[in-house]
Amino acid sequence: MSYVYDEYDVVVIGAGHAGCEAALASARLSLKTIIFTIAMDSIALMPCNPNIGGTSKGHLVREIDALGGEMGKNIDKTFIQSKMLNLSKGPAVHSLRAQADKKDYSSSMRKVLENTPNLTLKQAEIVEILTTDDKVVKGVKTYSGAIYPCKAVIICSGTYLNARCIYGETVHMTGPDGLSSAKHLTESLKSLGVEMYRFKTGTPARIDKRSIDFSKMEEQKGDEIIVPFSFSNKPEDIMKEQVSCWLTYTTPKTHDIIRANIDRSPLYSGSIKGTGARYCPSIEDKVVKFADKERHQVFIEPEGNYTNEMYISGMSSSLPEDVQVEMYRSVPGLEKADIVRNAYAIEYDCINPAQLKPSLEFRNIDGLFSAGQFNGSSGYEEAAAQGLIAGINAAMKLLKKEPIIIDRSQAYIGVLIDDLITKDTNEPYRMMTSRAEYRLLLRQDNADLRLTKLGYQVGLIDEETYQKIIDKEKHIKEEKERLEKTVIGANKEVQELLTSLNSTPLTTATTLAELIRRPELDYDKLKSIDPKRKKLSYDVIEQVNINIKYEGYIVRQLRQVEQHKKLENKKIPESLDYNLISGLRIEAKQKLTSFRPVSIGQASRISGVTPADISVLMVYLMQYNAKEAAEKKVSH
């Protein structure tokens, strides 16, 4: 028996990392929002690795923060170790990563949700999306038959749809961590014409800390100076004692065990049909595909301060339980390992994300949005980023405002969403720095300068934060100009300083900026010959230093962005019939029809669409737009 429950503006299905950001954004923008979860205790659950951030993912978290999302703040509250990766490389690829206390992370996020006005939490499985005949969302239905009328739905079902956990011949029809799976929503989506995919991912075993011999491993400590994820925090505010991770390696014996039992792996026996991510290969995949590699790294990471469970990073597997025991125990330090939870692979339903608009709304279902692993991505951070954008855009739609679409040249979030809806996603999509073509501009250190104003415009950033960014911009600009103008002569003091820093002494006068550009020098090192320097905050100095040092490269990327923007700004009408365009190759017609790009720029990134096709398309659009304009004139 079904009955009608309360009415909401926005319904969010799933309370993982995508769902939390989506629901918070929507509620904070004053929309009456409800978030459904299959289990209240699984809010913001981290069913796989116990960390947030990492290369390019750390960028995403800082961007989420700059836009007014929650992930950065939550990890700053609950981390137990923090590290800036890639410090020996350029500033564009410095990436922040923090180990989380999983339970803390989850309950802290739950607290935020529970105390956000306009947001209701509900434990229930959604089985059906209700729409009008012309596919406009009008509500959802729970397993128990309650109908929640609403204007927009955001699906963030993660890995729960028809989930199946597998190791060896053992199969559990559950979601991650033994949680109940969602068994009905796929059918409802299919009946709405949604194209579904089946993807696979996996997780390693958890081992009892007491059974590990850490003396055989290398200790991996956190950084001494901690950079917070959230721009609202200062390093000193979040200092705390950190917990170590540990490094060990697989052995030839490990590889022998895997090879001897490979036929029992469901990946190789064909029992697993879902497509896995190449980025997160199981240990059996690594051993088979990189057979000449003698050993693989294994990181032992704490799941939190609340437990003895340790996450065995680098050894995810779907081998049978008995093989797992033997395999893990062949690793130095793990000889006596007590396995608390087995490694397993998980298969789940997700969508072909080519069905989405850049706003993350379905092209063919009005008011239906989606985010996270349901969209074919992998990773907590990728999920949260999409959740935030889907939440914002569901709100924008109901508030009758333009959707927020972030460009590839603006943020990793833009790259992530554009890739998902433009490329043939045939495996779980993971963010990577190599995917961002303008990465010199998209640094983790300047995410606030890139996005805070946008967050303010959306309504998720308060006045005070906004004002701070305006001031920061001003300080950076002024200091840069001062350094460009300040002339330094070849006096004794200068020459001595340069010599002491192994830098060539001056032959003619130069500017402070020129000196900063020298590879061996930087802003801080020139302090003694720059007496007029004002006291500036560390983040302003960082920007000044990077902007001066890498100016040549940055200017070049800015020029590329200018070219790129020209094509992005040429919009393609939604209703365009590509079959009518003579001169387009058949492959291009098919691809364009299936992806329905919103701009010429997006069209040019679809594989199988050539530059000549783009020219032809531009010519056609010119005529099309003129015709439309003429018709409008007539009808008025």
């Binding site: 290369t55 490389k89 980025y279 990073s313 720095t433 190599s434 490269y553 001169g583 020219s615 010119m622």
Partner: protein
Amino acid sequence: MKSDTITAIATGLSSGGISIIRISGNDAFSIIDRIYKSKNGKKKLSNEKSHTIHYGFIVDGDEIVDEVMVTIMRAPSTYTREDVIEINCHGGLVVTRKILKIVLGQGVRLAEPGEFTKRAFLNGRIDLSQAEAVSDIIKAKNDIALKNSLKQLEGREYEIIKKIRDSILRDIAYIEAALDDPEHISIEGFSEELEENLQNYSQSINRLISGSKNGRLIKEGIKTVILGKPNVGKSSLLNILVREDRAIVTDIAGTTRDTLEETINLNDITLNIIDTAGIRTTDDEVEKIGVDKAMKVAKEADLIIYVIDSSVPLDDNDEAILLMIKEKKAIILMNKSDLTPCIRKEDIEKKSNHPIIGTSFVEHEGIENLEQLIKDMFFKGDISFNEDIYVTNERHIEAFSNALKALDMVRESIYNNMPEDFYSIDLMTAYEELGGILGENVGEDLINMIFSEFCMGK
């Protein structure tokens, strides 16, 4: 719309006379000011009135390259609705090509196939109702360009480019894998290895460029092939044509042991003559190979001159050749008319529709007829040489040069001690430029290479 400045040769190249090099875009005037010199050396074209023609010289530094007429036209009353400069020069490949090179050296880009038309349309110069026609032009020109690009690369060159490209991609993938997974993959010390690689890439590309310039890639002119059995007088014909022609442009060493190539001018028509002399012997097996080779060369020819010894009866070889050239533009010479003929003109006419001329190379008879016939065929448009080949070649050279520039930037980054992530930016540019020649996009190449070569991830 703000666009970069483009250039191309706007006229056909083959018919001598005048060639026009067109420049369109914002920088057109500043560029012509740098390379144009008036008679008194004082005129600056950017100060002159629009839609005027000016006599003067194109200069390369201090050196005068050619005497020209330059038409200047300011936007918007031009074909593309942008500033347009047209340099009218003394035709002929050598000069035209040199001027184009000077223009390209000013930071102008070679126009894409159909780009002037595209700009004209997008800037509202061509009526909107013509969209379909414009699209068709762009598509057709691009199809031809891509086909030519690939056709023109010899197997060996194609392989070299592919190899360099693969290797560059591997370098990028290594760097990127290490950036994305620093805890598993280290690139410490890689810059030294990379420097060595860069050296090799640049050397290979430089060799490809000089190959292009020397005509290994480009064989401009009407590709004319002389076919015939041994001792029919093919070499004599070539010698006569070369000797009689007053202006040998270049002589290019044969691409294979068995063919000899000469470029000659026949009243402003450039002929690129390939003699297939010596390709046959009496040994049956080798003879077969010879015929195959001749067939291959002939297939790509714009014009075939088939020499028959009229004092010797036709045999199977002649039959095979006549069959092969049936669909080609060809002229048949019945040589050795000074000897007692045993083949009649009618015998050949039965087997072929091609024009037939009686010649005696020994007596220099019929040569004038032959030259006249070629001229007639050319001006009637029966034969034409494929000038896309020339354009394609310029495009290749431009892409090679851009790739070289990018590789130099990488070297500079290494020299300046920049972090490794800066290397991949310019490496990628080089990869893209070389891909353009092969008609290949970047797509997911990098991501695929990263995953196939490096063991990544948790």
